[in-house]
Symmetry: C2
Subunit: 312 residues, 2 copies
């Protein structure tokens, strides 16, 4: 058994990539301070900003909300009930309970009520994989709520493992356009709020350990539609690399940001943003993706083109 | 059993990443034509060039020599006997026999005789891993023989798997300097001959199949010092990716060359090349790596610094 670096107490908590042993109390401090350093490193936001955190009810998003509030930021929550039977019901309950515990405002979108269709219902009518149109809907409501309620920053709880698997995917095909967008802060532009990822340097394991130690009651199940996704396959491979030499994940991501991102960031294509002719939301096309999804649902047409740049 | 795309004969030979079934005869044709296309794509050399092929006696290098001669190029061989007991003895015999079969000139360096020490003997005195100083010696003798015997092109049989594992290694740490050198043609400069890799787009399996079908008698053992190398670990991981989605390796490498390499190639640092004060060979330092290795052997000193840019 190792000893906590801060207080010397015997502890089981060890973070191999940082060669760091910490007791529960000092682990919580370390995790929160590291989030604060990440926020500062990338100039994500300040105490005067109004932050809307996307909270699914899982370990990452509830931990992020908890850390931001503990660090003294003005952070409210937005939960989207996707209508995926029991999974969504439990997610909403856990999120509501947590909002009450920390005493912060929680906005709730209910897809079935507010969009008129749940994810399983939309799935019947869509060619795209669920994660794709579900992402479009989430981004749409996040932007909408930020504007309606005056939040200038949208925070998501993407962790290091999420970022690394997307980075690996984009690197394997050298998709320079996507790589040039992979930064943990995307500035406010074209009617879209600023987007930040304060957990981008915290691994999935680190975030899970924080959630457990901070006694956060989160939903443990993964979304049933996420199974078998390519991202999960990459996560497994990257875990093998990490096991062989701890720190590989963090180095791959951090060195990308410090060495490669500066070289390619200006290669991000300038996109011209219009207003959707139907709803007025920003879009690259004449009609935004959300209105197209609505039309598909109304008229039963299948989605034929994917408009990846909508609501980036 | 599939049918040959060219002649319809039933065949076991199938290349998943190209979705291509071929009979033995048409496989040989396809492999040679694909090498020719690679040579042209990267403007590696022409029929008027004098090419020196580095031949170890393994499947890749003997296949490359065979293909180049069959394609009508002026290609002679250079074999370096590393003095690694039976492995080196068999390698030299297979290489000599093959040179006789194709009727081309073969130069032989015997490290024990020409450098004064074999690889196992040098290993006793060196801190660097064997693959590192062995590479330095190979590059030194290749450049020396090219100049002495008037070859203007040095060809090595690095295959797609070799290139991809190095690319992965350099990408995981985003080593822009190394990435900016990873191109299958390095032009003649600073007293070093032009270097080319005509098999850069052929996988290890494809090259092995060619060797077998072209009835090339090669040494099957790997160098005993190569075991457990990082490159082998990456090769395994990349094979998993390839198995999951055939074509990943080739796409990763080809798209790097077409999309990322143009962005970073000008970031290759300009190095000032001196002449070694001891032997006159080109070097970045005052004394070249080879003379330093010689001095270490003479005076029993341990190598302390690695001069990676010597004989690139």
């Amino acid at each position: 058994m190792k000893k906590c670096l801060k207080c010397g107490i015997r502890t089981n908590i060890y973070i191999p990539q940082h060669r760091l042993a910490l007791c529960p109390e000092h682990y919580i401090n370390w995790f929160e301070a590291r989030t604060q350093r990440t926020i500062e490193e990338f100039k994500m936001f300040q105490k005067t900003d109004r932050i809307l955190v996307a909270v699914s009810g899982g370990k990452d998003s509830l931990s992020l909300w908890n850390v931001l509030v503990k660090l003294g930021y003005e952070a409210d929550g937005l939960h989207i009930n996707l209508g995926i039977s029991e999974y969504s019901e439990i997610s909403e309950i856990k999120t509501r309970n947590f909002a009450q515990r920390i005493g912060r405002k929680l906005h709730i979108v209910d897809l079935g009520r507010d969009f008129g269709r749940t994810i399983p219902q939309i799935k019947e009518n869509e060619r795209r994989p669920p994660c794709s149109f579900c992402g479009t809907l989430k981004r749409y409501y996040m932007n909408l709520y930020a504007r309606e309620y005056g939040y200038n920053v949208l925070a998501t709880a993407h962790n290091l493992d999420d970022e690394v698997s997307v980075l690996m995917l984009n690197t394997l095909s050298w998709n320079i356009e996507y790589l040039s967008r992979q930064f943990p802060v995307l500035p406010e532009e074209n009617g879209f709020a600023r987007k930040v990822k304060p957990f981008c340097k915290m691994s999935e394991k680190e975030a899970a350990m924080y959630a457990v130690l901070a006694q956060i009651d989160y939903i443990e199940d993964e979304c049933p539609f996420a199974e078998g996704s390519t991202t999960l396959h990459y996560k497994k491979l990257i875990s093998q690399l990490e096991e062989k030499s701890p720190g590989t994940k963090l180095r791959f991501y951090s060195e990308f940001l410090s060495k490669m991102y500066p070289v390619i960031k200006d290669r991000r294509p300038k996109t011209s943003i219009n207003r959707c002719k139907s709803c007025g939301e920003p879009t690259q096309s004449e009609i935004c993706m959300i209105c197209r999804m609505r039309n598909n649902l109304l008229y039963g047409k299948l989605q034929t083109s994917t408009d990846k740049a909508d609501n980036p």
